[in-house]
């Protein structure tokens, strides 16, 4: 469930656009006003505001935001204001240019979005970057990472709930065989993970657990320094228990462990309209404190206020 809180009666877009324009006037920028508007509008509403803003003031709202804001807060507002498909395209493009964490972001987008939404990302990518997503991912990755990531971003998984139990059995067996042979990037593992529907995959992995006594990720933990294995485990987690994946990402980011510095911003802005409530529950369950408290403890100022507003904290 989304954590985004939208007021019961929302002002018309031209009013929001006017307020935002006012927020940029004068000496400084009225960040509070920006948060109070944008952090409480859904994607459709934000799109309208951008449209109206452009018509009224002849400029792109996001360009104005870019000029006026700085650092983490800016990044959060920028990412949040973008339409979800554009946002993912932006993040994916950024990921093909960066060295660390880049593979993770690509995998995360490919695996946690619905088939339909992933395709919208590919369309947004064409529009914004004049190239295809898979073209850039293929060009900027090599070896096993390319072998896994290109099919992941290109797949258009069947979204039905049907499960073939015999197939689940036989594919669990294949996975187990290959893993026992340490053939982690084998064609068959890639095939199963990158083409099967999520429902079928779930069935296969449950079968794996029943048949072989261990969850598949346990068997994949064998070499903790192997980056490809780490990515493979995360892929499986994203495809089956995304809220657990996101909880861990948030926990590591807040505790400043791991190398994904922008994880907190990314997870909050990309999940606020999707399943942030579930992620919060998972966070509380795992850490015995609320996400709100840890974010408040770890961040400050407008950045903190924006994040808290997006995760639905109080009357922010």
């Amino acid at each position: 469930m989304a954590s985004l809180k939208v007021p019961a009666s929302v002002p018309p877009p031209y009013e929001d656009a006017e307020q935002l324009h006012k927020a940029f006037e004068g000496w400084g920028t009225n960040e509070g006003l920006i948060i109070s508007i944008l952090a409480h509008r859904n994607a459709a509403q934000r799109n309208l505001i951008r449209q109206v803003y452009a018509e009224a003031y002849g400029k792109d709202l996001l360009k104005d935001l870019d000029k006026e804001l700085s650092s983490d807060f800016e990044r959060t507002v920028l990412l949040w204001t973008l339409d979800p498909a554009e946002r993912d395209a932006y993040l994916a493009n950024e990921a093909t240019k960066r060295f660390t964490s880049s593979n993770w972001v690509l995998m995360e987008i490919a695996c946690t979005r619905s088939s339909h939404d992933l395709f919208k990302v590919r369309q947004a990518y064409h529009a914004r970057y004049k190239k295809s997503l898979e073209e850039d991912v293929a060009y900027h990755t090599t070896g096993d990472f390319r072998k896994l990531l290109v099919p992941l971003v290109s797949t258009f998984r069947y979204e039905g709930e049907e499960v073939n139990t015999m197939l689940a059995k036989s594919e669990a067996k294949i996975l187990h065989e290959k893993i026992s042979d340490k053939a982690y990037s084998d064609d068959e593992i890639i095939r199963i993970l990158t083409t099967r529907s999520k429902a079928q995959l779930n069935a296969t992995l449950n079968n794996y657990n029943n048949a072989f006594g261990n969850a598949i990720n346990k068997n994949l933990k064998e070499d903790s320094d192997n980056d490809f294995l780490k990515l493979l485990r995360a892929t499986i987690k994203c495809l089956t228990y995304p809220e657990k994946y996101f909880e861990k990402l948030l926990r590591l980011s807040i505790k400043k462990l791991g190398t994904d510095e922008w994880a907190l911003t990314r997870v909050v802005t990309t999940r606020a309209e999707v399943d942030m409530e579930r992620i919060k529950e998972e966070y509380h369950r795992r850490n015995s404190v609320t996400l709100d408290r840890d974010i408040a403890g770890d961040t400050s100022g407008d950045y903190e206020r924006m994040l808290l507003a997006l995760i639905g904290h109080g009357d922010a």
């Binding site: 295809s132 099919p151 290109s154 998984r157 095939r191």
Partner: protein, 312 residues
């Protein structure tokens, strides 16, 4: 007997000549039919109990020929997305000799058309195209085919000439070292052919000739058929379609190859038939219409000719 020849002709080629059959067989007397049966040993066998029996295999073939018109109509009326999804499914069922159809669909459709086919495939078969392609294909062509059906190519005209040049070199090297490593399994070959935009690939095709002296598909031989067809579909589709049409109409064509005539005309009539006709004439020195007139019969022939001359 002139009627005999006409009758045999009515059954020879693609489709059947319904009018001729009605005229000749319909008006025939018993002795004409006896004569027909005795003088067509490839249709009728002399049975030991003194009667002429239909050759079973020939009847089966006839069934296909009668169905050609019906299949064409059904395919023509079908939504293009459903059409492409069903063609892929059929190709997967038929096996390796039909994988060229998968290449054809993945590479000659626009990005939106291919997306549509993938959606239709979900509805029709409860699986994704890439899932089924990956499961049913086990040979060296699997990686390329999965990547081709998964593509959502950028469709703008922008091309980076430097990148095109260097990628032409990469392809040339991969093909040159073909005896050491099968180019169809080379990860760079797959990357270039399955992810680059078509305008970009046309530039690569052009630069390839400068680098290697020949066109890409000339450097590939029959053992690299899928790779060859991929390049042709992506870079020279009209020549590719012309060849499929011509092969379909050759006298000793395999029954799967013959289906190419219906498939290409039905799937391209609304798209680029004009260009295909021009290219066909260039390559084979005869108009497509004339060739179809010669090789096809009856309603099937009339329907095809109508499809390809609609905008004349």
């Amino acid at each position: 007997m002139a009627d005999l020849e006409a009758l045999v002709n009515a059954f020879t080629g693609l489709g059947v000549d319904e009018k001729s059959l009605i005229e000749n067989l319909g008006k025939s007397h018993p002795e004409h039919r006896t004569s027909f049966r005795k003088r067509t040993p490839h249709f009728f066998i002399e049975d030991e109990r003194s009667f002429e029996r239909w050759n079973d295999h020939r009847v089966k073939l006839l069934k296909h020929e009668f169905m050609r018109f019906k299949n064409t109509l059904v395919l023509w009326a079908m939504h293009p997305w459903e059409r492409d999804a069903r063609l892929v499914k059929e190709a997967l069922k038929k096996g390796p000799q039909s994988y060229g159809v998968i290449v054809e669909i993945a590479c000659t459709r626009s990005s939106e058309e291919l997306l549509g086919a993938r959606k239709a495939y979900h509805s029709l078969f409860d699986h994704s195209i890439e899932e089924d392609v990956a499961t049913h294909i086990h040979g060296s062509e699997r990686k390329l085919l999965v990547a081709l059906v998964s593509a959502y190519r950028y469709e703008g005209p922008k091309v980076k000439e430097d990148a095109a040049k260097s990628e032409a070199k990469i392809l040339a090297n991969a093909i040159k070292n073909g005896d050491k490593k099968n180019p169809i399994e080379d990860e760079e070959v797959v990357r270039i052919l399955a992810t680059r935009s078509k305008p970009h690939l046309k530039a690569v095709y052009k630069h390839y000739k400068e680098v290697s002296g020949k066109n890409i598909h000339e450097d590939l031989d029959a053992s690299d058929l899928i790779l060859k067809e991929t390049v042709e579909c992506l870079c020279t589709p009209h020549a590719y379609f012309s060849k499929v049409l011509d092969e379909a109409m050759s006298s000793d064509a395999h029954k799967n190859t013959k289906k190419g005539l219906t498939r290409v005309i039905v799937t391209r009539a609304d798209v680029d038939m004009k260009e295909i006709k021009e290219e066909y004439n260039n390559l084979f020195g005869v108009s497509l219409s004339k060739k179809i007139e010669d090789k096809a019969n009856g309603n099937y022939k009339d329907f095809l000719l109508t499809l390809i001359t609609r905008d004349n």
